[in-house]
């Protein structure tokens, strides 16, 4: 299949979707493959690379660590020929596996920069399997926010975690549970990881469930 040479005819589509519990333990690379297959099943005129093994051109806003769920994820893909948005949405929803819910589909200016470059921040809530006392949480947050440098090592690289935390609070859910809310920097070279922060606060990754609630573009 040859690519459509008229750039003007190429449509860029942005999908907002949720990654639910059924996909909680599906990592970033697997999620990319999942989207490629979803797009193939949708039979939309998706733009593919050339060569023996053509691949759909995909652009995910920000990798979600394994074990997290999300209310809001963003993905861009490209179409070789236009298609009504309602039809795109319907076809994606039909091809989606359990746990992936399509919220909205919109058309984007093809000249916009890549989603990863536009990323500014993400918001997360953390629910605990054995919720700690409110005062304990408050104290830990207060401690963290007063620090200037908190060095953390991930994959043999040490970085200062503190400036990546933009804000943090204890919240109460409608169900009356105490949860942690945080807004973390998510720029291409400086992305905060909730699990690193929680580890710093003394919570192992078997103690909680993280949900991304919002991604903020610049």
């Amino acid at each position: 299949m040859s690519l459509n040479p008229q750039v003007a005819a190429v449509t860029r589509i942005r999908v907002r979707y949720a990654k639910g519990n059924a996909l909680r333990f599906i990592g970033h690379l697997d999620l990319q493959r999942l989207w490629e297959r979803l797009l193939r099943r949708s039979k939309l005129p998706v733009r593919y690379s050339q060569g023996f093994h053509p691949r759909a051109r995909l652009n995910l806003a920000s990798a979600l660590p394994l074990g997290f769920i999300s209310d809001e994820e963003l993905l861009d893909f490209w179409l070789d020929s236009p298609c009504p948005l309602t039809e795109i949405q319907a076809r994606l929803a039909e091809a989606a596996p359990p746990g992936l819910k399509i919220h909205t589909v919109q058309q984007i200016d093809p000249k916009e920069t890549a989603l990863q470059v536009q990323m500014k921040a993400s918001e997360f809530t953390v629910s605990f399997y054995d919720p700690p006392a409110a005062t304990e949480l408050e104290q830990k947050i207060a401690w963290l926010l007063t620090q200037e440098v908190i060095n953390k090592t991930r994959r043999k690289k040490t970085y200062n975690l503190r400036p990546l935390v933009l804000d943090m609070q204890v919240i109460n859910t409608l169900a009356g549970e105490r949860e942690l809310w945080m807004r973390l920097l998510a720029e291409p070279a400086a992305t905060g990881r909730p699990d690193d922060i929680l580890e710093e606060l003394g919570f192992p990754n078997t103690a909680y469930l993280v949900r991304r609630t919002r991604v903020i573009l610049g």
Partner: protein, 621 residues
């Protein structure tokens, strides 16, 4: 423990293990039925990790067929990888199904797939993780019924003590008869013995508890006798006169598995009669699926999965009589969807220039695989895979001329009547092939030699032969490595010790049960995995049980000996195998039986089925 809390406990250990997506299910096209909505719960178990088991077509077919039945729910379970096993044992989490996350012990029937013998320790580990007694005789009416099937159980004896009933042969119809027997037994409120005798009445089902084995003083089997009138011996394998409909619901894994492609079986069975080939003997007769049926299945598979590759499965794809029309018919679909095709198992002498033309146009760039299996014309006659050197080189030339750059050649070492000059000939053949390739494709031509060790398998003409001596195998491998040194030929080989284990387990009798148990207790698991397999626990286990492993692997069996698997009828008569064995000793071949029937026993055993379901699929003349 409540069901909810089990689910939560599972979720809490998952962040600590590698690739947790293996243990969660929830894939597209998974079937989850409310637990209380069906009468019979079947857990289909593949005793290796999800990544392998989920790619197993046999298990996928049973899952699909069983779940089409309103009264049955089939759920899946696989072996946890070592880190997950540790986490589960620490937290006392029993092995659970992926669909409803139910402990395996809650199921009515556990159906275990045993395609090869190196899964036996994993099988025991699964029973143990599920809290089910290892030995059949220790189970009572509260325990699930443990059924095993698959290619390995054509010799069921080594695992007979752990299995309540074996399904011998093709299971697609048999499973429903087993479920029906279980349901009527439940209604009858009968004893465990009554369940076993009901099962024994189903054709193809073997209940080892109803059969007694007597041994000679030297350990050879003296006699195998039924101890209950319901258990008739021999047990004839089950076959279907016509291949059942292909998979119609394709599950799409969320985590990466070994085969991510739409696999459709185009043909079952093989009539070439290679004497080393277990699959070729036990899967007779040849039955083909129609081109239309294959095309429809592939289209449905691609629509449902979004996969980028299609694979046509059979033991010998180029022998499928409609192979060119099939590939031609697929062409448009493959090009439109930008899908790759893989066609494993091409026979050197049976694929044509035409086939190479279409394959090259559809899937350029890939490698090509041929399996001469032995280095000399003489030895190829002994193993009944006759092929002249000239014919081999003609094919090789043609492959390179069609544009393929890389060629993989499969060989086996340790064949009966093999000499070192046969091994040297393997090296010479590979070198000649590379030279041929270079003349056509220049410096980009690549040759890869894959070398495995011959295992004399039950129900083949070589079942009387011995497994080659381990030091002899090492010498042969060293000779090959030396011969390839400094050449551009890459060689890979199987661990001969792993083949030796396979020889013990495939040629064994009932006395192996405590050996398998002991090896498992000493930590043997994942014996098919190069990085996990260790021979030491096995050697220690044999010693502990007072058995000599060489007795099973290294001894030529007497022609009049009762073989431990003689009471299982795989369709091909022992007299036919013996005849063929003697032909091999004389260096004589027996050509493909598609042209001329040699009365192997298949038609004699199953002609009534063929008459009841006439049609073009069954290829015996």
């Amino acid at each position: 423990m409540t069901q909810k809390s089990l689910q939560q406990r599972i979720e809490r250990i998952l962040p600590t293990v590698t690739k947790p997506g293996r243990y969660v299910g929830g894939e597209l096209n998974q079937v989850v039925k409310p637990w209380d909505s069906v009468q019979t719960h079947v857990a289909l178990v593949f005793p290796d990790i999800y990544d392998l088991g989920q790619s197993n077509l046999g298990m996928a077919l049973l899952y699909d067929r069983l779940n089409q039945h309103a009264d049955i729910a089939a759920e899946r379970a696989f072996s946890p990888w070592v880190d997950m096993e540790t986490a589960m044992r620490n937290e006392e989490i029993p092995l659970f199904s992926l669909e409803n996350k139910r402990p395996l012990i809650d199921f009515d029937i556990i159906g275990v797939s045993l395609p090869y013998e190196t899964l036996y320790t994993n099988f025991l580990n699964i029973l143990d993780l599920a809290g089910i007694p290892l030995y059949s005789k220790a189970r009572d009416t509260h325990h699930p019924l443990v059924i095993a099937g698959g290619q390995a159980v054509f010799n069921p004896e080594p695992v007979a003590a752990f299995v309540d009933a074996f399904a011998i042969g093709e299971g697609e119809e048999m499973v429903f008869e087993i479920v029906a027997a279980h349901q009527s037994w439940i209604a009858s409120k009968g004893s465990r013995e009554e369940l076993l005798t009901r099962l024994a009445g189903i054709p193809g089902v073997y209940v080892p508890a109803l059969v007694a084995v007597k041994y000679h003083a030297d350990g050879r089997v003296q006699a195998v006798e039924s101890v209950h009138p319901a258990m008739k011996l021999p047990v004839d394998k089950r076959i279907l006169a016509k291949l059942p409909s292909p998979l119609n619901r394709f599950l799409v894994p969320n985590v990466e598995v070994v085969h991510e492609r739409v696999s459709v079986e185009i043909m079952r069975g093989c009539t070439r009669g290679c004497r080393f080939c277990h699959a070729g003997m036990v899967n007779r007769p040849i039955r083909e699926r129609s081109v239309d049926e294959v095309l429809t299945a592939i289209q449905a598979g691609l629509d449902q999965t979004g996969y980028e590759e299609v694979s046509l499965l059979s033991l010998s794809s180029s022998d499928y009589s409609e192979i060119i029309p099939l590939i031609e018919g697929l062409k448009a679909l493959l090009i439109e969807r930008q899908v790759d095709i893989s066609l494993p198992s091409l026979r050197i002498e049976s694929f044509s220039e035409d086939l190479m033309d279409v394959l090259q146009s559809l899937s350029p760039g890939g490698g090509f695989t041929l399996a001469p299996e032995a280095g000399t014309e003489r030895l190829r006659k002994v193993i009944n895979k006759p092929l002249s050197d000239a014919e081999l080189m003609r094919t090789v030339r043609s492959v390179f001329q069609h544009g393929w750059k890389s060629l993989k050649l499969y060989f086996m070492i340790g064949h009966p009547q093999e000499t070192l000059s046969d091994i040297e000939a393997i090296a010479d053949t590979c070198k000649a092939v590379l030279q041929e390739g270079r003349q056509i494709a220049g410096g980009r031509a690549k040759v890869h030699a894959g070398v495995s060790t011959f295992i004399p398998k039950p129900h083949t003409p070589f079942q009387w032969s011995a497994f080659d001596d381990l030091t002899a195998i090492e010498t042969k491998l060293a000779l090959l490595r030396e011969a390839f040194r400094g050449t551009k030929i890459k060689m890979t080989w199987n661990d001969p010790q792993m083949s030796l284990l396979e020889a013990w387990l495939s040629r064994g009798d009932r006395r192996l049960a405590p050996v398998i148990e002991s090896a498992w207790r000493k930590g043997a698991r994942f014996d098919a995995w190069g990085d996990q397999f260790r021979i030491e626990p096995w050697q220690a286990a044999f010693a502990e049980c007072g058995l000599d492993p060489d007795f099973y692997s290294s001894r030529e069996r007497g022609l009049n000996e009762v073989l431990p698997w003689d009471h299982i009828n795989a369709g091909v008569r022992k007299a036919f195998l013996l005849d063929d064995y003697q032909l091999s000793l004389a260096g004589e071949i027996r050509p493909d039986c598609r042209e001329r029937c040699y009365a192997c026993g298949i038609l004699a055993s199953f002609n009534h089925l063929r008459l009841a379901q006439p049609g073009g699929g069954w290829k015996c003349p």
